[in-house]
Every structure is written in structure tokens, then in C-alpha cells.
Symmetry: C2
Subunit: 200 residues, 2 copies
Amino acid sequence: MSSDAADAIMDGTHSALRSRGYADLTMRDIADEAGVSKAALHYHFDGKHDLLLSFLDRLLERFEARLDGVTGANPEERLLSLAETVTLPPAGGDPREFRTALLEIEAQAPYDEAYRARLERFDEAFADRVRSVLAAGVADGTFDEGVDPDEASSFVVTYVKGARTRNVAVGASLDDSLAAFRRYVRSTLSADPSEGVAAE
Amino acid sequence: MSSDAADAIMDGTHSALRSRGYADLTMRDIADEAGVSKAALHYHFDGKHDLLLSFLDRLLERFEARLDGVTGANPEERLLSLAETVTLPPAGGDPREFRTALLEIEAQAPYDEAYRARLERFDEAFADRVRSVLAAGVADGTFDEGVDPDEASSFVVTYVKGARTRNVAVGASLDDSLAAFRRYVRSTLSADPSEGVAAE
């Protein structure tokens, strides 16, 4: 498959998940959104499940690239920027529809080992970056020496997952969730709370 | 409908959601699990959606009763107990199957105003109790005077939502999430971290 064709199919899958959700999604929907024939889609993929696994693999690559593009003057800024990157939508648009479809896929994970394996890689990709920046911050004195990077990274990943799920399920504001996260970082992780970069 | 019949139908709905999930659930499945005829079910409910709304209403009543049954020697103990009540399964069993079905329903919320309204009431029921116990703890000196009960309660609800979602989606341990939560309460909310009831 050409790179252009792969891009079109992956973009089409993204659009189709937004407009149709996961449960009702068909190969026809994806073909229509991608502007390719259904036969071409079936030539490359062994059905909807196979296509969605490829889609998740590609989404993971992009997710990791976004995480690795995060910058900041010090570990605290980088931590806040990582959390914003995962919490807020990539292009500033409304992520609700797409994230709702992802939540449907998460609800399949207990019964689908292949989905589960992909979702674990998303979780670990975020946790790894958070753990590294926490360790760097403990080492350079940005974060309190009592911070355990393993436990604190798990806490951060759990909180961000909650922010996204509450946004989909009950419309909780992502900006409010991030503001509360910034105060948590300053008051709990920072070595000197009064000098946090996010101080108001 | 008699109270016994209502109980049987609600218990049957719970079992059917566990075994079939939300998307594939049929009135037939619920009737079979409840030990009633499909005709009886249709006599009382205007289809699966109507029945599930009644089910969620009843689940909310039980959820609120469990929250109101939480005790503890002081506000910190009560806060930890509230978080445990919402994070751990009611009877000590594996909650994964039922929570997976609830996650499916959460993924419907953006497109279903009636589900959304119910889910908001669950969210608010938990947030209200957490807010009250935080305010009580600030007033009696258990929690730091700088703790804002509105913001901290939202933070707690978000974290617990994340713990449940990560448990379903990637199998993250509920016990580990709770242990990290206890340390957060002690280090961030307690007026005197060294005297926290959860100190190790």
C-alpha cells in the first residue's frame, strides 16, 4: 500500500470513528470517508478489527511523537506540558467525538487481547515520559526528594485518564481539570511550592 | 409492579450487563436472567433504553446509600473510606465485567441526554460527599486551611474515575491506585502530614 493510500485510510478511519462511533462503524463508512473502494479496503485489511488495530498502531506512533515533542525550561514545565498534551485535543478542536469512540474501544479491552495490548502501550508511553521527567526533576532539585517517580507517574496517568473520561461522560471541563493538576504539581511535587513556574 | 418483581428485574439486568455487556444486551437476555417472561418485561418497560434508565436510577439510590453509610473517626478517615467505597467493588468480588458495561454506557452519554443526566447525578453524589468531608476537615483542622473543598473534591472525583477506567482498560491495580491516593491525601491535604491516619 502506498504511503498516500495508507494516510487516506487512516484519516478516513479517524473521521468515521468521529461520525459513527465504534460500535456502529462499518468498512463501508471507512471506505466512504477515505475516498477508496470497499474492495481496496478489504484487499489491505482483514476486516474492521484488523484495520482498527493498524489505526491504533499508527495513533500510538503519533501520540509518542507528540509526547517526544514536548519542551519546557525545567522538569516542572515539561511535566505540565506532558499533561496538557494528553488532556487537550491535538489541534485545539473539540475532541469529544473521537475520544468517545476511544472510550468505546477501552470498554472492549477486557474481552479483546489485541486492543488491550495497544491500550497498554498508550498508557505506558505516557507513564514512561512522566516517570523520566519526574526522575530528572528529583535529580536537579525541581521536585521534592521524597517524590517516588514510579508512584507519582502512575498517579499522574490515572488523574489524566480520569479527566478525559469525566469530560466524555459528564462534560467535566478539561481546562478546570488541568488547572487543578497544576496546583497539585506545585503543592505536592515541587521542592519549593512558592517558586513553582505555575504560581499564580 | 411488586417490589419483588422489581428486584428480580433489576438483579437480572445487573447479571445480564455483566455477561453480555451493554451493546449486545437484549430484553430477552434480561428476561432470562430475571426469570420473568419477555412479555412481562415489555409490560413494565418501554424497551431496553427505558429499562436501563430505571436500572441506573436504582443503582444511584444504592450508590448514595453506600456513600452515606461511610464512617470514620475523623474527616481524613471518612475521605479515604469514601474513595475506597467508590473504587473497590461492593462485595469484594471482581467488578470488571459490570464496570466495563458502565464504561460502555458512559461512552453513549455524549449522544444520550437521559444517560448523561443519570451519570451526572452519580458524579455529583460522590463529589458532594467528598466536598462535605473536606469542608468538615478544614473546619476542624484535619486538613490544611489552604485546601479548597470545591477544587479538591473535583480533583478526587477525577482521580477515582481514572482509577476505575484504567482498571477496565489496561488492568491497572485498584489497590495500587488507592495506595497512591492515600499518600496524596496525607502529603497534600492533611494539616499535619506526619500525623495522618494513613501514615506508614
